[in-house]
Amino acid sequence: MLKSHFLALLVYFALALPVAAKDKPKSPELLYAEFADSLGLENKVVYIDFWASWCPPCRQSFPFMKELSRKYGSEGFLIIAINLDKDQAAARSFLAESEPPFPVLYDSAGTIAKQLSLEAIPSSFIYGRDGTFREKHEGFQPEDTLKLRSLVESLIKEREIK
């Protein structure tokens, strides 16, 4: 009797293991590594932004990101926007209006967002030229631009110091 219960418990754990292992958490460093080769991130200051077209602060952040990209793009600054809309058409319609000068990727199923356990959108991950993760920024308010801009500027200058 006891033996069969023990066996049932073992089977239960064996079945539960693959479910638990399915969504492995992803660190910001792994997020960077995922795009490092395909998008040529080497020696670049990288700003990865998670956004959705239905999120007003995300939409508000686009003019700022566009400005950053235009101003510092030639100095080795790259923005990668990852869209989280389930309906990609809504995102494309916003992008047609906004015309961002940076690449936009799609995570419609929220796989990466889930692995990173995002708690807010927009969420931005900022990396230095050496690929080290420097800052995570959640939400977007006009007053955030000062802090973000100075951080990006200081990261861009890092190579000049070396």
């Binding site: 009797m1 219960h5 023990f6 239905w54 999120c55």
Partner: protein, 77 residues
């Protein structure tokens, strides 16, 4: 007998924990709030309609309160 009791207690605890933890991921994730973010999904989406409804209720029932505005309940306005 004692070992069996402990075994059943542990098994029960494991299953109870499993059942309770099953409720943990049920919340809507931030990237899943597209429909909830629509203005029509707000609890107070039609503010004017709600104010009119409340005024009608207040005038007909001669009572107010609990609706977010003050008043004596005379039903005169």
């Amino acid at each position: 007998m004692k070992i069996r009791k402990i075994f059943f207690l542990i098994t029960g605890l494991v299953f109870a924990l499993n059942i309770f933890s099953g409720c943990a991921p049920m919340g809507v994730q931030v990237w899943e709030r597209d429909i909830l973010a629509k203005p029509s999904m707000q609890l107070d989406a039609t503010t004017n309609d709600r104010a009119i409804d409340e005024h009608i209720y207040f005038s007909k029932e001669a009572s107010s309160g609990g609706g977010g505005f003050g008043g004596g309940g005379c039903g005169c306005n």
